[in-house]
């Protein structure tokens, strides 16, 4: 087990910069997930931790050692690859025992280690098979088994579930999570699937374009996204975002768009009239309301029941908005519907910088009452 500390880590391939100074501290035993859109540098960062890519600048520490110049095998890590990278000419048992074989471990020790890992992952009946004789999920498990056998202080995963079908993915998600709870080893996990990140991680690192956008616990990212990118990346369906500016309403400030929409600002919003903002509210914080209570009125465009809830696409002025409704006799496309926004769940971002307006944090709402 070990902490990992990344300090202003940079990476360029040739003259092409990919990571622009990434700093992350990962606690001992923590399950951290790197998430972000394709090409943002997640795999590169993970491979740098593993020692498969050189560090252009900055420091990577595992435990108390700077490992920048250490070979992968000296870093006490194990990695699970997206395509599993199982040795095709070795049986499951040989695959799992390979690292011990290289280290010259006696047979008894190898058998014990493989047996232990096989038991944890339910691989015992498959030990004599070759990778090509296994299903995707089984291969995935063997790849994890190979990592467990090494008994590393850090596990690294690069999109380990992306080759599996949806159902198996959910199952393996649970297995990896419980593996973490059982082994209590530091794990760094890369995915571009924000649901995977939300359900599994102790903390999530949201990356974009070679930079860290935000680091936090899943619910923190959900409740207080630090900027527009995180706001739109985390959450499914994603947050409704509408551009406009602060306007003086009768008595309290309002948010007004160019197409004449007027939306309520949360209490204690710290923004001068005329300031250009992006107004955000998640679909699940929009509710149908009677005309009298409604903050706005929209036209229904599309109704998609998913069972437990119903997703409704609506036209709000010139904007498209999504609502996730639980139980309400929702109208049909073309009908008008009154909407009420949950006041303490409204997010405001600066239009220029994309940064979150501090005063809009639900936790601190009402702390600063400069509404003039």
């Amino acid at each position: 087990m070990a902490r990992i500390a990344l300090q202003s880590v940079r990476k360029s391939f040739g003259y092409h910069p990919v990571l622009h100074g990434v700093s992350i501290d990962i606690e001992d035993g923590e399950f951290v997930i790197l998430v972000g859109p394709s090409g943002c540098g997640k795999s590169t960062l993970l491979r740098m931790i593993a020692g498969l890519e050189e560090v252009t600048a900055g420091d990577i520490r595992i435990g108390d050692r700077v490992v920048n110049d250490l070979a992968p095998k000296e870093r006490d890590i194990a990695m699970v690859f997206q395509n599993y990278a199982l040795y095709p000419h070795m049986t499951v048992a040989e695959n799992m025992a390979f690292s011990l074989k290289l280290a010259g471990a006696p047979k008894a020790e190898k058998d014990a280690a493989v047996g232990r890992a096989a038991e944890i992952l339910g691989l015992a009946p498959l030990l004599g098979r070759y990778p090509k004789e296994l299903s995707g999920g089984q291969r995935q498990r063997v790849a994890m088994g190979r990592a467990i056998v090494r008994d590393p202080s850090v596990f690294l995963f690069d999109e380990p579930l992306s080759n599996l079908d949806a159902k198996l993915r959910v199952q393996m998600r649970g297995e990896i999570k419980s593996l973490h709870q059982r082994l209590k080893t530091t794990m760094v996990y890369v995915t571009h699937d924000q649901i995977e990140a939300m359900t599994m991680a102790d903390r999530i690192v949201v990356m974009n374009g070679g930079r860290v956008e935000q680091i936090g616990r899943p619910l923190d990212l959900y409740e207080t996204p630090a900027n527009l990118f995180v706001a739109s990346f985390i959450g499914s369906p994603s947050m409704n975002l509408i551009e406009g500016e602060v306007a003086r309403g009768d008595g309290r400030p309002l948010f007004r768009t160019t197409d004449g929409l007027a939306l309520p600002l949360p209490d204690g919003t710290n923004a001068a009239p005329g300031r250009r903002l992006v107004y955000g509210v998640r679909p699940e914080h929009v509710a149908p309301a009677a005309e009298a209570d409604a903050d706005a009125t929209a036209t229904i465009e599309l109704v998609e029941p998913t069972g437990a809830e119903t997703q409704v696409q609506m036209r709000l002025g010139e904007h498209l908005a999504t609502g996730t409704f639980r139980d309400w006799p929702i109208g049909r496309p073309g009908e008008r519907i009154g909407l009420r926004l949950q006041r303490d769940k409204i997010h405001l971002f600066d239009q220029e910088t994309g940064e979150r307006l501090d005063a809009a944090r639900p936790r601190t709402a009402g702390a600063a009452g400069r509404a003039a």
Binding site: K73, N83, Y87, F98
Partner: protein, 319 residues
């Protein structure tokens, strides 16, 4: 010369396409399948059998028949001598030298040429700048016509004007007449063979190496493998189908060796660099003993077929 072609030993691999084309029909045998496969059989089998008979069975049978005669190639073969040609062959010292030389060529191919080709392939298969240039340079000798290569090296080895002579005199050695020396001529030939064909095997190996998943090496890095351990535990096992193919080509190729030897040494001096095919040509064709030549062809054919099929059966059954 037409006889020589039909006797040519290296045609044995030709046997296989025809054999294979029949195999699926046999395999998918079940009664229900016959209804669907018989048009295929009728359409494709007769031409295959015809061609196979015309170009493989008949010439071989003919050679077998001629080998029983003392025949110059003109007129009708009428002097039947039974197995006398084979007996002559067995007692010929030159033929035994040719056999030994072929064996030596195979040994050198396997022990020197293939490892060299594999080593170079591992060096130039990386996507580093300049690698492709080296790949091309190493492949050039193979592209060269065999006859041209033989001629070129004859000049290089020339004791009076050749490169070897110049280098030797530059270093202050006595100029060696490499190709005129009975004891070393064969080694000079072997050197040319390695030079000529390693590029071909290197290309095979490069293709094989590039089909190995790079992440396996990364996994091995993380598992703690050294460079040598990666080579023995990942590269070699995953390259083994390519290696077996390469060995197959080396063996068959060495049995066919002819074009390059003729301009280089012509089998001399005193038969010391004969191979089976140059021996066939020298003693069977140029001396107008077509019956004797046919006997050589038959022996060569038997050796080739035994080696080729035995090899495939034992080593390449899973490929």
């Amino acid at each position: 010369m037409a006889q020589a072609t039909s006797l040519a030993p290296g045609k044995s691999p030709l046997v296989e396409p025809a054999a294979q084309s029949r195999a699926p029909a046999r395999r998918s045998g079940g009664l229900r399948n016959i209804g669907r496969t018989w048009p295929v059989l009728v359409l494709f089998l007769p031409p295959a059998i015809l061609l196979f008979t015309l170009f493989v069975i008949l010439p071989i049978g003919e050679a077998g028949w001629y080998s029983l005669f003392d025949w110059s190639g003109y007129g009708r073969p009428d002097e039947f001598i039974g197995l006398k040609n084979f007996e002559l062959l067995w007692r010929s010292g030159a033929f035994r030298t040719a056999l030994t030389n072929n064996g030596l060529i195979i040994v050198i191919s396997l022990a020197l040429q293939l490892p060299l080709a594999l080593w170079l392939a591992t060096l130039v298969s990386h996507r580093i700048p300049g690698a492709t240039v080296f790949r091309l340079i190493f492949f050039l000798p193979y592209v060269l016509a065999d006859v041209a290569a033989g001629l070129i090296w004859r000049f290089i080895y020339d004791g009076d004007y050749g490169l070897v002579a110049s280098i030797a005199s530059l270093l202050g050695f006595e100029t060696p007449y490499v190709l005129a020396d009975r004891t070393i001529a064969i080694y000079a030939v072997l050197a040319v063979i390695v030079w000529k064909y390693f590029g071909f095997h290197m290309m095979l190996f490069i293709a094989g190496l590039q089909s190995i998943d790079k992440s396996l090496y990364e996994a091995a890095d993380i598992d703690g493998a050294t460079g040598w351990q990666k080579f023995t535990n990942v590269t070699l096992p995953l390259l083994s189908p390519t290696i077996r193919l390469s060995v197959f080509f080396a063996v068959v190729g060495s049995l066919q060796l002819f074009d390059m030897i003729m301009p280089l040494t012509g089998g001399g001096p005193s038969n010391s660099t004969q191979t089976m095919v140059t021996f066939l040509y020298t003693y069977g064709i140029t001396r107008m003993k077509v019956g004797f030549g046919s006997a050589i062809g038959v022996v060569l054919f038997v050796i080739c077929v035994t080696l080729a099929f035995g090899y495939r059966r034992i080593f390449m059954k899973n490929d």
